[in-house]
Amino acid sequence: MSAAVSAVPAASTRRRGRSAWIHRRDRRGIWFVIPFFVGFGLFMVVPLVYAIYTSLYTTRIIGGTVFTGASNYTQTLQSGQFWSGVIRVVIFGAIQIPVMLAVAFFFACVFDLGVAKFGRTFRTIFFIPFAVPAVVGAVMWSFLLEPQFGPFVHVAGALGFRGVNYFSPSLLLPSIIVIVIWEWTGYNMTILYTALKSVPRDVVEAAILDDTPLWKIILRIKLPMVRPAVVMLIFLNTIGALQLFTEPQILEYFQQGAVSVNYTPAYYAWNTAIAADETNLAAAMAVILAVIIVVVSSVSLIFRRRRGEFS
């Protein structure tokens, strides 16, 4: 250590020489970032560029692959099927996200305040679904909700609702909402809980001394202080909702015909690429979906930049 300590002041006396030397060393940093950017170029930039390129062509049975410009885009953007999928995920998000965040915030507050017993145990249990792959979560819930044998059908029957079909057109979306809420509430709660923990203790103590009721402490003091986390979760979950794929795809296996090919935009793009083998059209859909999501997340970034959180 002594060698290092004595060397630094000696160097700083020859300041100009030292900074030039440091500057020279600084340039070597490029070698540390090159491996990542090689992968970045090959597996992110190249595929995106290739998808855009492919989307400008159309393969016909007669005539082969020809350049058709924006026709795949106009076809997608004018297709009612594509937009009905987009509208569905928007409705899905508009219900699922507020419900989940309300539940997550409620329990995050309860555990943060320490007003329920066994808080640590509950927090661990709530987080478990995050460790379950979406495929397995969807498979388990498909068994539970299965219209003929699923235990939840029996439960509904016992409560007086006979012949409930959770995979019917009217109940399919609510079923998916329940599955996704099951998967993600614990994760959202954990983030909110961590954010709530950072609210200074003396602020809350001062409020208690002023006889502020608990609900006011939560809504007027704590909620504004964790607002950045809430905003971040809203955007994060919105992006997740727009990409909804796994749950409907697995449910369709359990009840053929329950999930239409265009149920969500991602599912539609997959069906177009694989089942319909229209890769050029699917490429256009992927690009449009990417643009929609990039716009949403850019808005979130600008939103948070303005608040000085992200630099």
């Binding site: 600084d26 990542f36 992110m44 379950v132 971040m232 697995i250 009840q255 694989i274 699917a282 979906l289």
Partner: protein
Amino acid sequence: MSAVLSRASGAASAPVETRRERRRRERLEEQDAVIPAELYGLRRGTVSLLTVLAFLFAIFTLIPIAWILINSTKNQANIFESFGFWFSGPFQFFHNFSLLFQNVDGYGTYIQWFGNTALYAVIGGLGATALSAFAGYGFARFRFRGSKLLFALAIAALLVPITALTLPLYLTYAKAHLINSIWGMVLPSMVSPIGVYLMRVYVDISVPRELIDAARVDGGGEARIFFRVALPLMVPGLLTVMLISIVAVWNNYFLPLLIFNINTRYPLTVGLGLWSDRAVNSGDANLYPMLVIGGLVTIIPLIALFLILQRYWRGGLLLGSIAN
């Protein structure tokens, strides 16, 4: 150089605290940080009511887990005919388990998918951690031409959703004849913009600039300084990034679903998806019990990993939440 090195390694091995002591300390610290509930002037019974609500939500959370545990012991008929939340009929757990080692009806062997998943997750996860550590350190401790632009590029990549990238990746593979290639799965998993961001943040707070400068004055090469001085200080951040990347590959469904079309290459997620399709639509008698026990064996390693490494998950989530 040697002086700096010994200090760095000394810092890495300094905390001598057993796991039990740490848990105890954490619990005490947590209790200390919480304002006693009595001070809020709550009505009598509020604590009980809230505990009951938390208990109800815990039941909702555990229902599928309990179901899959119980039904992994049943045969096909009992999975459907007996009550879903209690045991029934012959205890078939070990028979079902043995099916995971067989290629029943040619749909693929579970144990092979398990091996594939582990392989993809470990190589992909370690690769992602290494690339993120290099790049994060490069961005945090060097200022070279274009460094700001490149970092902005990595951040911009955070905005592009996985789903939107996967389909283009598939189209590219189809053109480049990379369908069914293991590398087609592993290499893209190594590119983790979030990992780069997390490592940059972590290096900024945990590797002092002065220490690097001192090591340079002592005459260490940049690679040597990275591995001997910086890396030991980055270990907790590395573990977090590794955990996030391994779990991301383990749970990945969309990419392998698109790029693999022979079942010897499948990871667990795609294999189980195939089984649920075949179980329902081919009427094969063995597939339902296999699907149930297969699901159970898939989630157990992850839940165990999560319970053991909770601390790093939390840290990663927190950091990850800032970035996303």
